[in-house]
């Protein structure tokens, strides 16, 4: 492998990139970009009481994008030699037919602002130490209760070095290190099997484990499975809902996050089209997308188009204040990107993506909200979700939920999906507490997955439809 350019943090030397950009514009493109990526990852899985597999991998390559009018050409290659990059540039340029002649591109290297320093690169940590974490988690999960019948623990780290250069003269690099740990458990009881899951994931190095005790992660997963052994079917129909802090940021990710992505807006495929400056949510709702918050899972220094991460207020006191933008959507609307251009890897075109999306604190005390809710459902943890941005209809699943009776949490409920309509649900938020927390997630869009963060304080929704089977 070539480490040329590593002294400057660049994967490919600047004169080479300049020549590749020149070639990309040869046939008349208006904008060209080279995205270079070098990714190392390690994962280890303990399952069924055994360390099953340690896996390590490397993916390295570059993608070249050429924009002509409304058309984008893209080609990628795993060959980072000048010859390989030039071939990709020519393939991407094939969308341009006017023949604009060679243009000279001069790049200026911009230092990216580091949001947090990685203290301990995972690659410098022994594999044995990583395995040890898995064993600790397995023991802790199994010690949580005799009913725990199966435990799977998973460790993963990844280092993703990127370099982005474009014909506007941008040249910037980023070194993104992420570390994660998760545990899933199965518990067996009279009513069959139940599952529990917990994870901890941050944009940090191995120092993650200075603050995160994997035994606690394991115990949380085990407890979640055990609790559900005595769970009864969730209700069916519309119910008041309390979301515990940090448990359900996915609600905002689905209820409005995706609908505020400028690509959906441009195609009139979002319920939030034409709503700028309008009251789209309860006045208690202030929603932010922020890629700059140090160690969170969706953070980075620069996005995959070379723009610095930003903090963007999307909804302020219920009023829609902004959408999220990438380079192309920003250019079309004569404004800049908001630092939301992301891609899964060099094989993909970037698009508008969220970073860390969260609801800001309100004034209420979480205990008060519960006490003032006579009946309903209390969600301690949500799983995934899905939205149709055009209709605004979205679902999100519970993985730990309880019945609320007389202002108290009572019986555990089996897993169910909840369904609602984005703007409707946002208007029905009538209480927001002061206990903000957030967590990691993986967001899928158009076949591409990227790490994101989601967060919220404890809050109440006056009515949402829950899809249980109670009443059988």
């Amino acid at each position: 492998m070539s480490d040329a350019g590593s002294a400057t943090g660049l994967l490919v030397e600047t004169p080479v990139i300049e020549r590749v950009l020149g070639a990309a514009l040869q046939r008349g493109g208006e904008f060209a970009e080279v995205f270079v990526e070098d990714r190392h990852s390690t994962s280890a899985v303990l399952d069924d009481g055994r360390v099953e597999e340690l896996s390590s991998g490397r993916d390295r390559g570059a993608g070249v994008r050429v924009v002509v009018g409304e058309t984008t050409g893209y080609a990628h290659t795993a060959d980072l030699s000048e010859r390989g990059l030039l071939a990709a540039a020519e393939a991407a340029a094939a969308v341009a037919r006017q023949g604009g002649g060679r243009r000279v591109v001069a790049l200026e290297h911009r230092e990216s602002v580091k949001r947090n320093e990685v203290e301990q690169l995972p690659e410098d940590v022994s594999k044995a130490r990583k395995i040890e974490l898995l064993v600790q988690a397995d023991e802790a999960a199994r010690a949580s209760g005799n009913a725990i019948s199966q435990v799977s623990a998973s460790y993963g780290d990844g280092r993703r070095r990127i370099q982005v250069a474009n014909s506007d003269g941008t040249l910037v690099a980023d070194d993104q290190v992420r570390t994660r740990f998760s545990v899933s458990c199965v518990a067996v009881g009279d009513t069959g099997m139940q599952t529990g899951y917990e994870s901890s994931a941050f944009t940090v190095g191995f120092e993650l484990f200075d603050t995160v005790d994997v035994r606690e992660v394991a115990a949380a997963a085990a407890r979640r499975a055990l609790v559900k052994l005595t769970a009864r079917p969730a209700p069916s129909g519309e119910v008041p809902l309390i979301l515990e802090s940090g448990s359900g940021g996915i609600l905002f990710h689905e209820a409005c996050g995706h609908g505020l992505e400028a690509d959906h807006i441009a195609k009139d495929a979002s319920v939030y089209v034409g709503q700028m400056g309008e009251q789209v949510a309860s006045p208690l709702v202030t929603l932010v997308d922020d890629g700059t918050i140090g160690p969170e899972w969706g953070s980075f220094a620069v996005d995959d188009e070379g723009n610095s991460a930003q903090r963007n207020v999307l909804i302020e006191k219920g009023v829609l204040t902004d959408y999220m933008w990438d380079y192309l959507r920003g250019r079309k609307d004569n404004r800049g990107s908001s630092g939301n251009g992301r891609r899964q890897n060099y094989r993909h075109l970037p698009m508008v993506r969220m970073t860390n999306t969260f609801l800001l604190n309100g004034d209420a005390e979480p205990e008060e909200i519960l006490a003032q809710t006579p009946t309903g459902v209390y969600v301690a943890k949500l799983g995934g979700g899905q939205v149709n941005t055009t209709t605004g209809d979205f679902v999100f699943g519970t993985v730990e939920a309880y019945l609320i009776e007389d202002g108290h949490i009572t019986e555990p409920l089996r897993d169910a999906n909840l369904i609602g309509n984005g703007p409707e649900v946002l208007r029905r938020i009538d209480a927001v507490a002061n206990d903000f927390a957030m967590g990691p997630g993986t967001c899928g869009k158009d076949g591409q997955s990227v790490p994101v963060g989601c967060g919220q304080p404890t809050l109440r929704i006056t009515g949402v439809t829950i899809g249980g089977t109670a009443g059988d």
């Binding site: 390590s56 990709a88 999906n417 439809t465």
Partner: protein
């Protein structure tokens, strides 16, 4: 569905070249060591049209290698997204090192030849490689044009895509495995938006085939238009118990979920509600479920599994009775059985696991219209959401978002949205009323047909 490509970037590899490479690396096995090399290479093309223009055209070629080493029941794995010899050498060294950290397990080991001859299958259409990019671009543009002009109620075409891929893989091992598999897929997909403002509805239509010459653009457009326009004016339905009639696409999704509970890996590790139930009645007597990758009509068809064994037909549920599971080599050994040649893998970057490729419910005799006329009042489910968040193949709990149309007097009636349907997978299999004759071969691990299921809990207003 696919990413994309054009021929300029990378010519198709000569046949046999991949296998040669895999064999050469596998030949480096040391004594006492099992070594498996999986090499894959593919090209893709993706075109998206919007408002009469090409929104994007991507062309890509990718290749990679995944190496498994087993020493004394300990498995290590490493991969690289390149076929450069120097990187492959390092990858092999990494896999060997990784193996030293695993726990020894007598069941862990590579596949060996089992004497089953592969079925000859034609899953390759050269047209994917021969067709010029310009013609693929024209298909996407034409698809968008037809979708825009198909129905006055369609106000927007959210996407109109052409995509194709040609992929080849070879696997060779020190335990005597040598196999190659290759396939092409070509598809168009389109999403229409009907209606305006508060009453906007979406529908996705697609068509997939082995090559671009077999794609039916009008079918994809008609499907999208029908799905979006018939939902106009949809409202919530009232909560209650009812029968549901599943669209073939929904049935396919449902079977994919059931398949994860039929994986030998899940079963042997106590993560399936089917565990310990072989020989028991788990479904209605009319239900026969088979995984048959040797059926070339299936998009999951393959001559070989991911460990290089010849694919074969596996009967999983016969007349409602659970007959068995799908196994890869390791999970089969754990169960004291032989592999069913059902190893699947997500590409060079992951290890093989047991999984279904080509599920099919044996078709019944009724067409969709006959089923509608027999179910009484029911919900016809056009699409479901939240499958990954609301269906648990371990516990069997099932709760998903649904949209569709009410069935009244044997006909499709008013549209319904923003409701959920719930039950358990166990109960649903025991409550199947009808299995349609209208099999649709769909991308993914299962074909689908119209299926009616009784006694679902519908949550709405």
């Amino acid at each position: 569905m696919t990413d994309t490509v054009s021929q300029e970037v990378s010519p198709s590899p000569a046949e046999g070249e991949l296998l040669e490479l895999a064999l050469r690396i596998a030949g480096a096995a040391k004594s006492g060591e099992q070594l498996e090399v999986y090499v894959s290479r593919g090209v893709e093309t993706d075109v998206r049209a919007y408002e009469g223009e090409v929104e994007s055209l991507s062309s890509a070629a990718s290749a990679g290698v995944g190496i498994r080493v087993v020493v004394g029941g300990r498995q290590g794995f490493a991969y690289a997204g390149t076929l450069e010899e120097s990187v492959i050498k390092q990858t092999l060294a990494d896999a060997r090192d990784n193996a030293t950290f695993a726990t020894a397990d007598e069941h862990v080991g590579l596949a060996g030849p089992d004497g089953v001859a592969p079925t000859s299958l034609d899953l390759w259409d050269d047209a994917v490689l021969r067709t010029p990019s310009a013609a693929k671009v024209e298909m996407a543009l034409e698809l968008e044009r037809r979708a825009r002009n198909a129905d006055a109620r369609v106000r927007q075409v959210a996407f109109a895509d052409y995509g194709d891929m040609a992929a080849e893989a070879a696997v060779a091992s020190s335990t005597g495995i040598t196999a190659t598999a290759r396939r092409t897929v070509s598809s168009v997909a389109v999403e229409t938006i009907a209606g305006a403002d508060a009453d906007s509805q979406t529908g996705v239509g697609f068509c997939a085939a082995r090559g671009p010459g077999d794609l039916d653009l009008d079918k994809a457009v008609a499907d999208a238009v029908q799905r979006s326009t018939r939902m106009l004016g949809a409202t919530k339905a009232r909560s209650g118990k009812c029968a549901v009639v599943l669209d073939p696409r929904v049935t396919s999704t449902l079977l994919a979920v059931v398949s994860s509970a039929l994986s030998g890996e899940a079963v042997t590790k106590g993560r399936s509600f089917f565990a310990d139930r072989v020989g028991e009645e788990v479904a209605v007597p009319t239900l026969i479920l088979v995984d048959d990758p040797t059926d070339a009509r299936s998009f999951g068809a393959s001559t070989h599994d991911a460990e290089g064994l010849a694919c074969r037909r596996n009967v999983l549920i016969e007349n409602g009775v659970l007959r068995g599971f799908v196994f890869d080599t390791t999970s089969a050994r754990r169960a004291g059985l032989a592999s069913t040649a059902s190893a699947v893998r997500g590409g060079y970057a992951t290890t093989p696991v047991a999984g279904c490729r080509a599920l099919l419910l044996s078709p019944g005799t009724l067409e969709a219209a006959d089923i509608l006329s027999r179910v009484g009042e029911a919900l016809f489910v056009q699409s479901i959401t939240g499958v990954h968040s609301g269906v648990n193949p371990v516990s069997g709990d099932f709760s998903v978002g649904a949209e569709g149309l009410m069935v009244r007097d044997g006909q499709l009636a008013e549209p319904v949205r923003e409701v959920t349907i719930a039950s358990t997978l166990q109960r649903m299999l025991q409550s199947v009323l009808h299995i349609g004759a209208d099999v649709e071969w769909l991308p993914g691990v299962a074909a689908g047909q119209t299926v009616a299921i009784d006694g679902m809990a519908l949550s709405g207003s």
